[in-house]
């Protein structure tokens, strides 16, 4: 038998891209479950539909690019993109909304740049930004959490399927469109309350969606799902699939800015409110940590995370959209290569780190 001729190293740990992606998917399951519990079956339908679309689009482009389809599909990255995007899409979304967003994410934001590893932008967030800009109404109307909802037809499997398919639910009183069931998200409600110059107490009284958690004012559904994503994120940290740099710097930056602002103007929302509303934890551990589009050196990751945290707060508070994670991430994606050039670590035997490209 001829002897195997290979170069060193001859041994390898058993981590693979596929396993990493599967563990990322696994880590989101708890959060996805909590979201489904609070906001109905629509969440799960979105996730499944987006996954199907993502796999289909990926396979299509791979076929056009004449790449081995199953080899690339097996890496699981398309599923992760679909999952992250679907978790950010409202549970009432019709099928075409998810289709457009996912297809854009996979075909334009990922494959046109060369596929996994080559995309400068986080594909899920690129898809999300496209949807948010193009369909602001559909994208900003969420169901209220089951516990405080007036009608819960939209939370049921049957109702969610009807909304998914036709955008309306047939009831005894006739067809009811999405508007009948949805309300604004907590972040949105707070923003509206601020424009109306309501005090926090008034806002809470008018909109039960804002909720309250021992005076900290966090909507129940959002709080628990964020907590679940935090748990999933800590699991990824423990498994060393992500490092602490981006989540910690992101959450710290958000907390610090929110605390300062809250001190001067309580209607801007407490730091706890910001940490446990919207997509904060999903972003901290699953979106901002997407390695392909993030900065890679440790120092670079800290700058990158801090940037996202600051921008998230600024856009949330002063921008026109309720949540800001997608835009903050995309803007920092743009800055990541430059950050990397200026944050090279000091190598062994060198007195100081080389920064930038001109210090040759």
């Amino acid at each position: 038998m001829p002897l195997m001729q290979l170069t060193s190293p001859h041994t390898k740990n058993n981590v693979s891209t596929q396993k990493m992606m599967l563990e990322v998917i696994g880590a989101t399951l708890l959060g996805a479950g909590i979201l489904t519990y609070h906001f109905g079956w629509g969440i799960l339908i979105n996730v499944l539909w987006a996954s199907l679309v993502a796999l289909g689009c990926e396979a299509l482009v791979l076929k056009i690019r004449r790449k081995p389809i199953s080899f690339y599909l097996r890496d699981g990255s398309a599923l992760v993109t679909a999952l992250l995007l679907a978790l950010a899409i409202p549970p009432t979304a019709p099928w075409w909304l998810t289709l457009v967003g996912t297809a854009f994410a996979i075909i334009i934001a990922k494959q046109l740049y060369g596929g996994l590893g080559y995309n400068p932008f986080n594909p899920a967030m690129a898809g999300y930004a496209l949807l948010l800009i193009s369909y602001p109404v559909e994208m900003t109307s969420w169901l209220p959490p089951r516990s405080i909802a007036e009608h819960t037809q939209a939370h049921s499997l049957q109702g969610a399927l009807q909304l998914f398919w036709s955008g309306a639910i047939s009831t005894q009183t006739g067809l009811k469109t999405v508007d009948a069931f949805t309300s604004a998200t907590t972040l949105d409600t707070l923003k509206t309350a601020r424009t109306l110059s309501l005090t926090l107490e008034e806002a809470t009284a008018q909109n039960p969606v804002l909720g309250s958690l021992s005076g900290w004012m966090v909507a129940p559904g959002w709080f628990w799902s964020n907590l679940a994503f935090l748990t999933g994120g800590l699991y990824l940290l423990k498994r060393k699939h992500i490092t602490w740099h981006i989540p910690l710097s992101f959450l710290s930056a958000l907390t610090v800015t929110a605390s300062i602002a809250y001190y001067f103007k309580p209607t801007l929302g407490s730091p706890i409110f910001h940490l446990f509303s919207g997509a904060t934890m999903l972003c901290a551990f699953f979106i901002a940590t997407d390695p392909v589009s993030a900065a890679t050196s440790q120092q670079g990751k800290l700058i990158y995370g801090t940037g996202i945290g600051l921008l998230t707060y600024i856009i949330r508070t002063f921008g026109g959209y309720p949540d800001a994670v997608a835009f903050a991430v995309l803007l920092l994606n743009l800055a990541a290569p430059t950050i990397d050039y200026y944050t090279q670590p000091r190598s062994y035997g060198h007195k100081k780190a080389k920064k930038g490209l001109h210090s040759l």
Partner: protein, 571 residues
């Protein structure tokens, strides 16, 4: 002269940046005691087992040699002697395959063993600690000792610190961080006194004044043995034993220095820049044999391991340099049908062998006869997802994935900027890469490309300089000739002021010259006349121009005739 012996043991506070913990698999080979490998039928002794110039054979084919007899001499400043490792007859001196990643054959001396293993008389050095460092270095050089840890740098040259910079501390590398390898572990358990003596001899030879020993905490027996003999032996130098945490690649020279001293070898520098010198356990033992027993380097301890070997055969062997690997594996009853990959060195930095007829050389610290299940073939390479695991484990704090991208883009400037040449090729990055990218191979390629590019640039620069110098030289010579010619012309014209004036026909009065001019003009005219007649006869071409020209030539000839006749008349 017994110095105050001090011995301290501490656990390293220093941590490596990065590093990995691959499965150690050392128990495959560290249970059995050190054994003697049999004398092979034939020895294959390559002449370039070391770094530096190839040694030159000093025996002839057919000559009888004894064990320990020198058969090839070091050539040049960095080189090493080669000795026969058993007695016998020189069968051939020629090109044979050796264990080298390039698979290129090299000059080897083949010795047919006579089975008697008769040695020459060895000349040990008496009372070596009272000898000069030069004497010890000469003994090390004569014995053909090179770094047995793997690099194979001639030890005598390395120890000659007067040639470089003075050193104060000798580091003994007993870390042995690569998985599978236990040669140093077993040697330390069984030969710790000799190794400590050898280490002190190296210390004396290099002019160092203290010794630091580094060993990983996964070798408790070796640590205990070392501690025991360090407390029992007479020490000539203060010795500090440091137990470092088990982590690959803490046994790299640069990493060990960082662990034991907290210092970093400057980029492009050497440990001697810090006053340090690093030697391996195996080298220290060889130095002990060379100085205390007078025996040259003809054997070494090699770990023979891997699951393709029967369990009882795995272990450490004292192998004669030049033993063909096939003989060795046959004696150990290797399961040939299971042997999938044969690695010389460790699984992280070793290289695979293609040809089993290659010999064990001075740097062969380990042979792994691995099965397919033991070291499975790597999965196909996927795209880099920039996860950064490689950067987390890099002991040199490089950004391996940036190096990978720049290698693919052949961006040499960015590679140098990202300190490619500080990569020690330990393989930690490739070990953790989830996309199965053979990163080290990329870096080797890039280093080769850059070196070649630099060599070509140097070469073309030299060629350009040569060309420019040549052009300048030619120009200068030309100018010089011109100047000489001008000077000569001036001289001639000064001597014959009227010469120039006489060149025109009208002013010549010499009838002979005028006659010649007339004859020449007449001939030209008549030739032209002939040509006219020929062309009129053969082609209908327009000959009017030619006729005009002939008229002119005729007039010229007649003028010349008149002048000549006048001159004749006047004379």
């Amino acid at each position: 002269m017994n110095h105050q012996a001090t011995f301290t043991k501490r656990n390293s506070q220093q941590q490596l940046p990065g590093g990995i913990h691959p499965p150690e698999r050392k128990t495959l080979s560290n249970v059995a005691k050190l054994r003697q490998a049999p004398i092979p039928n034939q020895l294959v002794l390559p002449l370039n087992q070391h770094l530096g110039s190839v040694a030159k054979p000093i025996v002839t084919v057919g000559q009888k040699v004894l064990k320990g007899q020198q058969i090839a001499a070091a050539q040049g400043r960095i080189s090493a002697n080669v000795h026969a490792s058993t007695s016998g007859t020189v069968l051939d001196i020629g090109l044979y395959a050796i264990a080298h990643p390039s698979n290129l054959p090299t000059t080897c001396i083949i010795i047919q063993s006579d089975g008697q293993d008769k040695a020459i008389d060895y000349n040990p050095i008496a009372d070596p600690f009272n000898q000069t460092p030069e004497t010890l270095r000469t003994a090390i050089e004569t014995a053909g000792i090179i770094g047995l840890g793997g690099a194979g740098f001639p030890s005598a040259h390395k120890t000659n610190t007067q040639a470089h910079k003075p050193v104060h501390t000798l580091l003994l590398n007993a870390v042995e961080c690569e998985p599978y390898i236990t040669a140093d572990d077993i040697s330390l358990r069984e030969r710790n006194r000799e190794i400590i003596t050898g280490c002190q001899l190296l210390c004396r030879a290099s002019g160092a004044t203290s010794i630091k020993i580094g060993i990983e905490d996964n070798k408790p027996e070796a640590i205990a043995a070392l501690e025991h003999s360090l407390t029992q032996e007479i020490l000539h130098y203060p010795v500090e034993l440091t137990v470092v945490p088990t982590q690959y690649p803490s046994g790299g020279e640069k990493q060990l220095i960082q662990l034991l001293t907290g210092l970093e070898v400057p980029a492009k520098g050497l440990p001697t820049d810090l006053g340090l010198l690093c030697h391996n356990v195996g080298t220290a033992y060889a130095v002990y044999r060379a100085i205390e027993l007078g025996e040259p380097l003809i054997t070494r301890v090699t770990t023979l391991t891997g699951e393709a070997l029967p369990a009882q055969a795995r272990g450490n062997y004292e192998v004669r340099i030049g033993t063909p690997i096939k003989d060795l594996l046959t004696t150990l009853q290797t399961h040939w049908q299971n042997l999938n990959r044969l690695i010389m060195g460790g699984p992280m930095m070793g290289f695979t062998l293609q040809n089993l007829n290659v010999p064990v050389v001075k740097t062969t610290n380990c042979l792994i006869a691995a099965t397919q299940t033991e070291l499975p073939t790597s999965e196909p390479e996927q795209t880099c997802i920039r996860c950064g695991h490689c950067a987390e484990v890099c002991p040199a704090s490089l950004l391996p994935q940036q190096l990978y991208w720049h290698t693919k883009a052949e961006n040499h400037q960015a590679l140098v900027q990202h300190n490619l040449f500080d990569c020690i090729e330990c393989g930690a990055c490739a070990y953790v890469c989830p996309s199965h990218i053979p990163l080290v191979q990329y870096y080797r390629f890039a280093k080769g490309e850059i070196r070649q590019h630099q060599a070509e640039t140097t070469k073309s620069n030299r060629a350009r300089q040569r060309f420019e110098a040549r052009t300048a030289r030619i120009e200068q010579a030309k100018a010089q000739r011109e100047a000489q010619r001008a000077a000569h012309r001036k001289k001639v014209s000064d001597q014959r002021p009227s010469a120039k004036a006489q060149t025109s026909i009208e002013t010549i009065n010499d009838p002979e010259a005028l006659k010649n001019a007339f004859l020449k003009a007449q001939k030209t005219w008549l030739d032209a006349q002939k040509a006219l007649e020929y062309s009129q006869k053969n082609s209908p071409a327009d000959t009017s121009k030619l006729e005009v020209k002939i008229e002119k030539l005729k007039t010229k000839a007649e003028q010349a005739k008149t002048q000549w006749e006048q001159a004749k008349g006047s004379n």
